[in-house]
């Protein structure tokens, strides 16, 4: 393996390849920052360009695009409170408050370093631990996917700690909306009110743009007398180094979130959208200052951005070892591999080891190069957004949402749905129902329902089909995690009150 790694450096460190990587990084960044273009779409759209390149180069470019796209989603999350990709939903929770305080540049830098860290960790796992980890992925069957969805929903109790009831209602709404369309098992048409256009259900991206972007634009319009959207902090010199050190100090958070991201990436069917929220939840749970989450604490951004970039490497683990994509963009990479006659699987490492190792090592290079590219673009974007008056920014946001929602399926209906959901989302936001839990429900609904019904079918061979949810040990791990996740915030509230009382009495005596 080491000779292959050494050989790969020869292929990567040529002017042509490095330039291609940088081009891919810029392209991926912009695609990621644009709400509506997901990493999957960006990779899919740019596949035809790789036909003129040899397979290795093509994969390298696509890999760079993918990595940068996931990172780029943080830009719009931080600057306009709308995730550029579903993997950055959690970045809005703390990134945006920081930007509003005038710390937008700092937030972007934190996201940059965290994304690079997470990306590297994911690729390290890919390089060294792919085969054993892949077999873990196979152990996840329908019951486990169901419990994973349940675990995901229980995160709401931490996210919406101020009003848990409203959070869960939001989650239930999201879950219910996800059932519109064709049922995954059985194929019946549900809740379409007779419109065939709704058979495809509500696209996640359409809802994402609607629930996050539009309320933000409308809020800006509501604040139209406030000329600018964000305040600009004084430009302190040396902020790059200072933030780098600040991020690096949080090794616990970085490592834990990256590993979580890698694991979620390994699971086929779950990607960055799930990973960033799970990591956020865990960071909140173990933090000594959980109340700071949601107000603009660096730990929040570190958790979400490192985990979502770790998914890039993690998702490729089942892809290259078993030929099973771990995350949606990997399905496209799978197609590209097949197209070039490179069949994913153990033979790939032996018969085409050059291609594989060059690709993996290029991911390292791309992730590192992502840092300067990102800092440059992020600062530029931040300065532009800060200087743009609301009367330009709000219409431009509308413009971007229209492009974004149209380009998913070239369907004007999606744009209408996006705007309608946006208005509903704005109303809900005013009522204190935040978009996070709703989108979480939308993401987890299909995973949960599929797992649920498939498991019930699997359980037909058992005396009681409901037992299927409780017989695998892996299911129990997830059940316990869900209970902890659900109960923890409530326990913490009670404990912290007791601690506070104890501290007060100690002080007094």
């Amino acid at each position: 393996m080491l000779e292959a790694i050494a050989a790969s450096f020869g292929h990567i460190f040529t002017v042509k390849v490095i330039l291609m990587i940088i081009a891919g990084l810029f392209g991926g960044l912009m695609a990621g920052a644009l709400p509506g273009l997901t990493a999957t779409m960006a990779v899919a759209l740019l596949v035809p360009f790789t036909f003129t390149m040899n397979p290795t180069e093509g994969l390298i470019v696509l890999g760079a695009i993918y990595m940068a796209c996931i990172y780029g989603g943080s830009f719009s999350a931080i600057l306009v409170n709308t995730p550029g990709t579903p993997s950055s939903i959690g970045t809005t929770f703390d990134g945006y408050p920081m930007a509003k305080r005038g710390e937008g540049e700092r937030a972007i830098l934190i996201a940059t370093f965290s994304s690079a860290y997470g990306g590297i960790i994911g690729v390290i796992f890919l390089l060294f631990l792919a085969p054993p980890l892949a077999s873990v992925a196979l152990k996840f069957g329908p019951p486990e996917y169901f419990w994973m969805a349940v675990f995901g929903i229980t995160i709401i109790s931490s996210l919406a700690s101020k009003n848990v009831l409203k959070g869960f209602i939001g989650g239930a709404i999201g879950l219910l909306i996800s059932t519109i369309g064709i049922a995954p098992i059985g194929g019946d048409v549900r809740f379409t009110a007779g419109f065939p256009q709704f058979q495809g259900g509500i696209e996640l991206i359409v809802a994402l743009i609607g629930f996050f972007c539009i309320p933000e634009a409308l809020t800006m319009i509501s604040n139209r007398t406030q000329k600018f959207h964000l305040t600009e902090a004084e430009h302190t010199g040396g902020i790059v180094l200072k933030t780098f050190l600040e991020v690096m100090k949080r090794q616990g958070n970085l490592l834990r979130s990256s590993i979580l991201g890698t694991i979620v990436g390994i699971l086929p069917g779950a990607g960055g959208s799930v990973a960033n929220l799970v990591a956020y939840n865990e960071a909140l749970r173990v933090s000594k200052t959980p109340e700071k989450f949601g107000t603009g604490t660096p730990d929040g951004i570190i958790a979400t951005e490192s985990s979502n970039n770790a998914v890039v490497g993690g998702g490729m683990i089942p892809l290259v070892t078993l030929g099973i994509p771990g995350a949606p963009p990997d399905a496209i990479l799978y197609g590209v591999l097949l197209l070039h006659g490179l069949r994913p699987g153990p033979e790939l490492f032996t018969t085409h080891s050059e291609v594989v190792y060059t690709f993996i090592m290029s991911l390292f290079v791309a992730t590192i190069l992502m840092i300067p590219v990102g800092i440059f673009s992020g600062r530029l974007l931040h300065r532009t957004v800060v200087r743009l008056p609301i009367r330009f920014l709000a219409p431009i946001i509308f413009f971007l949402t229209i492009i974004g929602s149209y380009s998913i399926r070239n369907n004007v209906m999606d744009v209408y749905i996006m705007l309608t959901l946006g208005v509903i989302g704005y109303i809900l936001k005013r009522l204190d129902f935040h978009p996070g839990p709703i989108t979480l429900g939308l993401i987890l609904g299909p995973i949960g329902e599929m797992g649920f019904v498939q498991a019930l079918l699997m359980g037909q061979v058992l005396p009681n089909k409901w037992m299927i949810f409780f017989i695998h040990p892996l299911s129990w791990v997830l059940i316990i995690m869900s209970l902890l996740s659900l109960g923890w915030p409530l326990l913490m509230k009670r404990f912290s009150k007791r601690w506070k009382i104890k501290e007060m009495t100690i002080d007094e005596s």
């Binding site: 759209l45 740019l46 035809p48 009831l165 409203k166 869960f168 209602i169 239930a172 709404i173 879950l175 219910l176 059932t179 049922a183 098992i185 059985g186 194929g187 019946d188 549900r190 809740f191 634009a217 409308l218 809020t219 319009i221 509501s222 604040n223 139209r224 007398t225 000329k227 609301i390 009367r391 330009f392 709000a394 219409p395 431009i396 509308f398 413009f399 229209i402 492009i403 149209y406 380009s407 070239n410 004007v412 744009v415 209408y416 705007l419 208005v423 809900l428 005013r430 009522l431 204190d432 129902f433 949960g448 329902e449 649920f452 019904v453 019930l456 079918l457």
Partner: protein
């Protein structure tokens, strides 16, 4: 508090609206939505009860500032989408972008300001159009114009 009360009742109605639609479905297709509807119903009921039990804290008014502007902007946005297939992407976008900016301007817009807005927006929209249409080969809506 009143807003919460109305919201919870709306959600209960939503649940009640969805339930009958699960009637004609197979077991496999109806079980998950039904569990969700029950879940939603009980949560909304709990919220409704909560509004009666807990004293309302000082809440922000539900009606946002500058409501007139919000509603008009939303209407313009809907019209914009409608125009996409009639006037085409570039024309309808430039028109609606300029309209919104004009409308949201704090100062009285002068002729120069409007012209410069139109120019800048045209450049921006055309740039996006070129990237999407020629480079990424993603078709954007066309109508009588592009």
């Amino acid at each position: 508090m009143k807003a919460d009360r109305i919201a919870s009742i709306v959600f209960i109605i939503v649940a009640l609206l969805f339930w009958p639609q699960t009637g004609g479905l197979q077991y496999n297709c109806s079980i998950f939505p039904r569990l969700l509807i029950i879940f939603l119903f009980f949560l909304s009921a709990a919220l409704l009860i909560q509004t009666f039990l807990i004293a309302p804290p000082k809440t922000v008014s539900f009606i946002p500032k500058n409501l007139r502007y919000i509603i008009t902007s939303t209407v313009v946005a809907f019209v914009w989408i409608y125009l996409l297939n009639i006037l085409g992407f570039i024309v309808s976008s430039v028109v609606c972008l300029t309209t919104l900016t004009f409308f949201l301007d704090l100062k009285r817009p002068t002729f120069m300001r409007t012209i410069s807005s139109i120019a800048v927006y045209t450049l921006m929209v055309v740039a996006f159009w070129l990237i999407f249409h020629n480079f990424l080969l993603v078709p954007l809506p066309t109508g009588y114009f592009i």
